[in-house]
């Protein structure tokens, strides 16, 4: 009887362990996905900036921003989840898009350049994919955190696995616009 109970508990611990490992790997994969879309946006922004330089519709500070973005994206590592670094990249990218948008208004010929329009479409799609991949990442992180924090898994985690909850990505710029801060 005791042996049967021990076997059931051991099987449960094994299942929880496997689910925790699977959850960690899925969160890493979701994170890598966010980075890959961020890199794609960087490439599109670089090409878009080059194209704008042809029309002299370009400011020196934008070039510096692109360089900053490149460095920031290079710092993002697929194996280490670094939410702060992602936030920095995403803020720089938004700044560049805003600057390029403002400059474009002054150069109507850019609006008919097919190559430029293509880059613009790619940037807009990448932005949508980054937003979606962040949502996907947060959803996966939530599932993982629930897995290790719900009873009785929290006891098993504290005793055997020692996994920390993963940080969710929060959009600092968007949250600044709300006059509300949650109390957790």
């Amino acid at each position: 009887m005791l042996a049967a109970a021990a076997a059931v508990i051991a099987a449960y611990v094994a299942i929880v362990y496997n689910r925790i490992v699977g959850g960690t790997n899925l969160a890493k994969r979701a994170w890598a996905n966010v980075i890959s879309w961020q890199r794609k946006e960087l490439r599109a922004l670089e090409m878009m900036a080059d194209k704008m330089r042809e029309y002299a519709a370009f400011e020196k500070s934008t070039l510096q921003d692109v360089t900053r973005l490149r460095e920031s994206v290079q710092r993002l590592d697929g194996d280490t989840i670094d939410v702060a670094a992602l936030r920095e990249s995403s803020d720089i990218a938004r700044g560049i898009v805003a600057k390029l948008d403002a400059r474009r208004e002054a150069y109507p010929e850019l609006k008919t350049d097919k190559l430029y329009l293509g880059y613009m479409k790619e940037v807009s799609e990448s932005e949508a994919q980054i937003a979606a991949s962040v949502t996907v990442y947060n959803n996966t992180v939530e599932s993982f955190n629930n897995l290790i924090q719900f009873f009785p898994n929290n006891i098993l985690n504290a005793a055997f696995f020692h996994r920390e909850p993963i940080k969710e990505f929060t959009d600092s710029r968007s949250s600044k616009e709300f006059d509300y801060s949650p109390n957790f």
Binding site: L26, K121, E122, Q129, A132, T135, V136, S143
Partner: protein
């Protein structure tokens, strides 16, 4: 139908008898539809009185009293009373059924005309079913009486001037089960089920793949390579299989996964089969041609049918699907 009609019931029954449901389905414009449905549109009251069911209930009570209390009652009363009681309920059911059918037909046709849709899909329903089941496994479920009960076609805007054609089907089938009790007696039960499908015959933006929700696992996936997305909640609900992993990874980008998840939340799960040149979305619960206003609203008088027809009508579930299809196209049509 006017038999046993009291007060306003006679007026409703008269209007219903003057309205041809088939002609409603064949109306080519809103003006023609309003002409055909004029007798019903003129009515202010659409609810029947409760006299018939009340009489039926009284007769049923009388029957029970006769059975248990009255001794030496004439034999015929034991048969006539229940027959009359059942007849009252059946007649009431027929009247309300006919009224609801007419109302639904008027609203459906009006919404179809507003959305440029037509009944039928070009070929007879039997040919249609066999050609669809050759292409999609979703139509091979069930044991008996597989049938396409409704088929409507139209075009769906893609937001950039382009449009894709679609067919909306209601697919009905019967699942037969045999159960054996403790005494060894076998009982056959038949369960009729309906699936609501949206078929995009020229949709080239999805590679060959299957996304199957719980009920979608009734049919086998043609594609054999399993795929999981980065979203834990999506993976929990759906099984994805495709021909090539790279195609699946490219197609199920985060934006498409989220769009799919959002649509499925509105429609109560959604399965998808794509064959590369055409796609089929199947929902178990949500009729793609569900109307925005419930027929009950007209019956209880909270909305007048005449007023409802003054506005453009849409199909909310079809709009949800349109949004999903546009997102899929947007993120899979980039050859830049």
């Amino acid at each position: 139908m006017a038999f046993f009609a009291t007060g306003g019931d006679g007026e409703i029954l008269d209007a219903l008898s003057k309205t041809d449901v088939r002609a409603i389905g064949a109306a080519k414009s809103r003006a023609e539809l309003e002409d055909i449905a004029a007798p019903v549109l003129g009515l202010k009251k659409l609810s029947f009185s409760f006299l018939l069911p009340a009489v039926g209930l009284c007769l049923a009570v009388l029957w029970a009293v006769l059975l248990f209390v009255v001794k030496n009652a004439p034999e015929w009363t034991f048969f006539v009373t229940p027959v009359l009681a059942v007849a009252c309920f059946v007649l009431h059911g027929c009247r309300t059924g006919r009224r609801d059918r007419v109302l639904r037909a008027v609203l459906l046709r009006a919404a179809m005309l507003d959305n440029g849709m037509e009944y039928g899909c070009g070929i007879g329903s039997r040919d249609l079913l066999s050609s669809l089941s050759r292409e999609f496994e979703s139509f091979s479920v069930g044991d008996e009486d597989r049938e396409i009960t409704l088929c409507a076609s139209g075009r769906m805007g893609m937001g950039d001037g382009e449009a894709v054609s679609f067919n909306a089907y209601t697919f009905k089938y019967v699942v037969v089960r045999y159960t054996t009790d403790a005494k060894g007696r076998t009982r056959k039960t038949r369960e009729t089920r309906r699936h609501y499908c949206l078929h995009l015959p020229e949709f080239k933006y999805a590679p060959p793949l299957d996304i199957r929700s719980s009920y979608g696992r009734q049919w086998p996936a043609r594609s054999r390579v399993k795929w999981t997305t980065e979203m834990a909640a999506f993976n929990k609900k759906y099984k994805v299989a495709c021909s090539e992993m790279t195609e699946c990874a490219k197609f199920l980008s985060p934006a498409v996964v989220l769009a799919y998840q959002n649509a499925a939340e509105r429609l109560g799960d959604l399965s998808m089969e794509s064959r590369g040149s055409g796609a089929l979305f199947v929902s178990k619960d949500a009729d793609m041609l569900a109307l925005p206003i419930r027929v009950k609203k007209f019956v209880d008088g909270s909305i007048l049918l005449k007023d409802a027809l003054q506005k453009d009508l849409n199909f909310p579930n079809l709009d949800v699907m349109g949004k999903l299809v546009r997102e899929i196209k947007r993120f899979n049509d980039s050859n830049f």
